[in-house]
Each structure stands twice: as structure tokens, then as C-alpha cells.
């Protein structure tokens, strides 16, 4: 066996002394590890994907079929239905659950929050990355410390405040909260990217007579565009998925509900809504996020874990 494996293994064996058996500790453990690895791959893929598969399959099943055979995963083809989607999307006036308007609310809130968060964070991240000013080092720390506060602690005063000024129940209130809550992480991700752009480019432009703001606008921001896009999509995902503030601010006004809030209300509804219809709502809530995620996966992962490899 060792002969076939070539000189490297032979050398290994020689280094380990005069053991003749092919079952060296190295080999035994490597075999165990290879087996464990593939068991692990299967385990993780099944465990992470199964709930999503289940979600999708339940959403196209008639409820009677599910009640009859809860243990069955795949629907017989002839019983496949898309009526669940029709019911969940249709407006309440037409006997549906109104998810189409929830989708619209979520899209508005998330998009405006992304724009606001980026408009705030781009200049801030640039400043922290490039300029030396009083408190530069502390600023980053303060922002991140803020990020560690319990959301529920912030929710109380904001709830009281927005109730008093009459913004509770409006989309605007929620947008303000989302934009400001995502600014710290947006700055963190963008700053990392600005740091990776060589400063020499900007310096030469400044020697040509451009000022800071011109440099930022014509050089740094265009170069950082990929990072800005992916950071924006990350904020979009946060805003789209957010639940606590949406619940606190919007629950009294059905016409303002986001998809997340709508789904949670539907799931706990006192009026009996078929599970399969709610499941169609869950698919509608999840699909945009999965699409956005696959579009940005690589950049997102790099932006999020920047600094982690320093360990």
C-alpha cells in the first residue's frame, strides 16, 4: 500500500520510525476525519436546508391534504395548488390576507432606510478611514458599543417619543429607526473597504489641485461602489427582516404592516387561517432575502468578517 502512495508517504513513514504497519496513527485518524467530514457535510446541509424545503412544499399543498398526512413531505402532483399564494396576496377586501400591500410597505421602508443609512454612513466612513481628527479612534468604538445595547431598551423611549409626536404607526418613524440603527454597522463595513483603497490615488489627485470633497466624490466613492452596493443590500436585509420595532410601532394599523409583521400576525391570528396559506406568506417573505443574499454573498462575507482573520 505504501509503495503505491509514492515517495511523500514513504518519507512520512520513515520519519515516524520503523513502524511497518500501513495503519499508522496518521492514516487511521485521517480516515476517521474524512468519514466525519462527509457525515458533517450531509448533516449540515440537511439541517440548514430542510426547514426551507419544508416551507416551500407546505405552501403548495391543500390544507386538507396536510391534515390527513402530516408526515408526508412531497405533494402528489395532481394535488399541487397555488391557491395559497393567491389567497395570501389578495387584498382583505377581496377575501385575501393583503400581503401585496405588505410587500409594498416593506419595500418602501427597506429601500428608503438603505438610502438614508448610506447617505449618513458614506461620509462618516470616509472620514474615519482617511482623516485625522479629534476623537477619530473613539468614534468607532462608541458606535459599536451602541450596537450592543438591547433593542428592547431603545424601543421603550422611542415608542413613547413616537407616540407623542404622532409618528407611531407611520412608515417614516420606522425608517428613521432602521436607518439610525444600521449606521454603525454600515460605517464599519464601508470603512474597511475605504481602508483597502490605496491612498496614493487620492494624494495625486490632491496634488493636481482637487480638494477633499472632490476627491471623495470623483475617486473614492466610485471605487467603493461594489462595497457600497453590498452594504446597502445588507441594510436592506436587516430592514426587511426586522420584527420588534415593526410590531411595536405599526401593530395597530394594518395598512402599514410590513411583511414580517403581517406574517407574525397571521400566524397568531384568532381567525383560523390555513397553515398552508400562512406558509405561502413565509415563502413570500423569505424569497427576496435569499435572492439578495445570493447576489451579494461574497462581498457580504468579506465585509462582515473583516478583521476577524487577525484573530
Amino acid at each position: 500500500m505504501t509503495d503505491a502512495a509514492g515517495p511523500a508517504t514513504a518519507l512520512d513513514a520513515a520519519a515516524r520510525g520503523s513502524r511497518r504497519s500501513p495503519w499508522t496513527r496518521e492514516r487511521i485518524e485521517s480516515t476517521i476525519i474524512t468519514v466525519l467530514k462527509w457525515v458533517g457535510v450531509v448533516f449540515f446541509v440537511v439541517v440548514t436546508l430542510f426547514p426551507f424545503l419544508y416551507m416551500l412544499l407546505l405552501s403548495v399543498r391543500p390544507i386538507a391534504d396536510l391534515a390527513l398526512e402530516p408526515g408526508r413531505l412531497f405533494v402528489p402532483f395532481e394535488r399541487l395548488t397555488f391557491g395559497t399564494y393567491d389567497e395570501v396576496l389578495r387584498s382583505v377586501a377581496e377575501g385575501g390576507q393583503g400581503f401585496l400591500s405588505f410587500l409594498q410597505n416593506s419595500a418602501i421602508i427597506a429601500t428608503v432606510a438603505v438610502i438614508a443609512s448610506l447617505l449618513l454612513a458614506i461620509p462618516g466612513a470616509y472620514a474615519i478611514s482617511r482623516l485625522e481628527f479629534f476623537g477619530r479612534r473613539q468614534v468607532n468604538f462608541v458606535f459599536l458599543a451602541v450596537y450592543l445595547f438591547p433593542a428592547i431598551l431603545l424601543a421603550i423611549p422611542l415608542f413613547v417619543f413616537f407616540t407623542r409626536i404622532g409618528l407611531r404607526g407611520s412608515l417614516l418613524g420606522l425608517i428613521i429607526v432602521y436607518a439610525s440603527q444600521t449606521v454603525p454597522v454600515t460605517i464599519h463595513m464601508l470603512r474597511t473597504y475605504f481602508n483597502s483603497i490605496p491612498e496614493s490615488l487620492e494624494e495625486s489627485a490632491m496634488l493636481e489641485g482637487a480638494n477633499r470633497f472632490q476627491v471623495m466624490r470623483h475617486i473614492s466613492i466610485p471605487l467603493a461602489m461594489p462595497a457600497i452596493m453590498s452594504t446597502g443590500l445588507f441594510v436592506f436585509m436587516i430592514a426587511w427582516n426586522e420584527f420588534l420595532f415593526a410590531l411595536l410601532f405599526l401593530v395597530d394599523r394594518r395598512e402599514s404592516w410590513t411583511v414580517s409583521l403581517g406574517l407574525s400576525q397571521l400566524a397568531n391570528s384568532t381567525i383560523e387561517v390555513p397553515t398552508t396559506v400562512v406558509m405561502a406568506g413565509a415563502v413570500i417573505l423569505t424569497v427576496p432575502i435569499i435572492v439578495v443574499f445570493f447576489l451579494t454573498e461574497r462581498l457580504l462575507v468579506e465585509g462582515l468578517t473583516a478583521g476577524a482573520e487577525k484573530g
Binding site: A15, M55, F243, L285, G311
Partner: protein, 325 residues
């Protein structure tokens, strides 16, 4: 460049480059700063203020929020309320067990996809799905999967594993389990929400550990191999020490976030069946009873306890944590 005064357009003469930079930096940062102060820092301070008042939801439109007199009633109420210490214990168990499980799974997942293989990119991406997906959707899927009547888990248990009756995973406080003739109670619902939390957050640990793993120089492993260290030894004595920093950082971050966690438990059990963590208690005081003062006091207690835990951790356990995130 620093010696010659650059008087380009837009620069004010008389200011050194350093002063200009400083001024530009503060200008660029000020919008962020103002928003963060207005929507995060001031509200936190205001919470402290509210916690010392008797403030009810029904009064907030009329009563001057800055009027009213100071009182300690809210805090006395928190510490004497039935269930406070139970909720605290639940929160601590939930955080410690959930954090450990999530990091353990994340470490395993990272080791598995470390070396390239066919389909690795897809496997890695699919492992991130629980973390990026909307919490409301995945919590709902889990609650249906575990449902005693409609759920596939109980159907599988009854049909294939031969369970006598379905297990109400999310509504049963505890169940008797007999292993080798010894019976003991296990907190069913609490274990279920902990499992959910490990499932949802292991990708976060996975991402960070994987990033760190890929930065470990390959010759380190090679050298240990040449010296005759077996694969398990190489993991234990070469790789693991390299990961200790990132694992410590993850432990702190995940503990903080799990300790404050609201969404997962609220959506799965509503805080019932022995899963009421402090954050859910705060929410119930705020919306259920409309007692804003009590909610604020409890949230300050939560933040205070967290600060104490972190202080103890950094004082006695942490070598020198990386604060890059």
C-alpha cells in the same frame, strides 16, 4: 507636502493641512453623529429617566413626560415581582447554552468546509441561510414542523420512531425522560428554543471561524506534520490555539446578543412554558400592562446585569480580546 502650504480652491488660507483635515473629518461625521445621538444615545438616557417615574401608556399623551416625580417603585417592583428571578435564570441558561451550542456547531461547520471540495461554495452558502432569513418566517416554519398535530417531526416520531403520543415541543414546560431506569425532568420548551437559537446563529460563528481558519498559515500545519503530530494532535495543539481569539470574541458577542434576545422566543412560544426571558418580560410590561416605567426599569436591570457579566468576564477570564468588531 506638509511643508508647502497648499492653497487650492476651497481651502481656507491660514489653516494648516492638519487643521483642515480635522475640520473636514468632523464635518463629514457630524450627520451620523447627530442621528446616532438623537435616536440612540438620548433615548437611552431618557430610559433612565423614565425608569424612575410612574408612567403609564394611557397617560403619555397628556402627562408631561418630564414632569412627574421621582420614585423607586419601578425598581422595587422589578425585584419583588413574581417570576423575576425565574426569568433571569432562564435568560442565563438560554444565553450560556445557546451561545456554546452555536459556537460549537459553527466550529464544526468551519472545519468541515475548510478544505476545498466539489460543491463547497454551495454548501457554504446554504449554511448561511438560517442566519440571513427573516426570523418571522423561520420561526413559523419551526413551529409548524414541531406542531403536535400537523408537524412532520411528530408524524415521523409516531410513525417511524414509535412515540406513544406527540411531543408538544413548544408548549410543554417539562417532560419526564427515563434513561437506563433513571427518570428525570427536562425543560422541553426551553430546550427547543435553545436548539432553534443554535440553528439560527451557528452561521455567524461559522463565518468568523472560517475567516480566521483561512488566514492560518499552511506551513504551520505542514511543520507539525513533519514533526510527526497526528491530525487530532495538529487540531488540538496547532489549530485550536490559533482560533482561541476569534472564539473568545464570538463568545462575548453572541452572549450579549442572546442575553438581549427577544424575537426568537416571542415568536416561538410567546414566553410561555418556562421560556420567559427578561426581554419578553419587558415587552409584556410595555404592551400588555402598559406600564412604561416598569418596562424601563426592567430593561435597565437587564442592561446592568449584562454590564456586570461583561465586566467580570474581561476582569477575570479574557486575556486581551480583539475588539475589531
Amino acid at each position: 507636502m506638509t511643508s508647502s502650504p497648499t492653497t487650492t480652491e476651497g481651502d481656507r488660507p491660514g489653516l494648516s493641512l492638519r487643521q483642515q483635515e480635522s475640520r473636514a473629518g468632523l464635518t463629514l461625521l457630524s450627520p451620523t453623529f447627530i442621528v446616532v445621538v438623537a435616536v440612540i444615545i438620548l433615548p437611552v438616557l431618557w430610559t433612565i429617566f423614565i425608569a424612575f417615574r410612574d408612567l403609564r401608556l394611557r397617560d403619555i399623551r397628556e402627562v408631561g413626560v418630564f414632569g412627574a416625580e421621582f420614585t423607586l417603585d419601578n425598581f422595587i417592583g422589578v425585584f419583588t415581582s413574581r417570576g423575576f428571578f425565574d426569568a433571569l435564570l432562564t435568560t442565563v441558561i438560554y444565553s450560556v447554552v445557546g451561545t456554546s451550542l452555536a459556537i460549537g456547531l459553527g466550529l464544526a461547520a468551519a472545519l468541515i468546509v475548510r478544505a476545498p471540495f466539489r460543491g463547497r461554495t454551495l454548501v457554504r452558502a446554504s449554511m448561511l441561510l438560517p442566519y440571513v432569513s427573516p426570523v418571522v418566517a423561520v420561526a413559523f416554519v419551526w413551529s409548524v414542523m414541531l406542531d403536535p398535530n400537523l408537524g412532520i417531526v411528530n408524524a415521523f416520531g409516531e410513525n417511524v420512531l414509535g412515540w406513544d403520543r406527540p411531543i408538544p415541543f413548544l408548549s410543554q414546560r417539562s417532560s419526564e425522560v427515563t434513561v437506563l431506569g433513571i427518570s428525570f425532568g427536562i425543560p422541553t420548551a426551553l430546550l427547543t428554543v435553545i436548539t432553534f437559537q443554535a440553528w439560527r446563529y451557528f452561521p455567524f460563528a461559522f463565518l468568523f471561524i472560517l475567516a480566521r481558519l483561512q488566514a492560518v498559515p499552511a506551513d504551520l500545519d505542514e511543520a507539525a506534520k513533519v514533526d510527526g503530530a497526528s491530525p487530532f494532535q495538529r487540531f488540538r495543539y496547532v489549530l485550536l490555539p490559533q482560533l482561541s481569539g476569534v472564539i473568545a470574541l464570538l463568545a462575548v458577542l453572541r452572549f450579549i446578543w442572546t442575553f438581549n434576545e427577544f424575537d426568537d422566543i416571542y415568536l416561538l412560544t410567546g414566553g410561555g412554558a418556562g421560556t420567559e426571558v427578561v426581554a419578553v418580560g419587558i415587552f409584556n410590561r410595555l404592551t400588555g400592562r402598559g406600564d412604561i416605567g416598569a418596562a424601563a426599569a426592567l430593561s435597565l436591570v437587564l442592561a446592568g446585569l449584562l454590564a456586570i457579566f461583561l465586566f467580570l468576564y474581561f476582569r477575570y477570564f479574557a486575556a486581551k480580546p480583539e475588539t475589531s468588531l
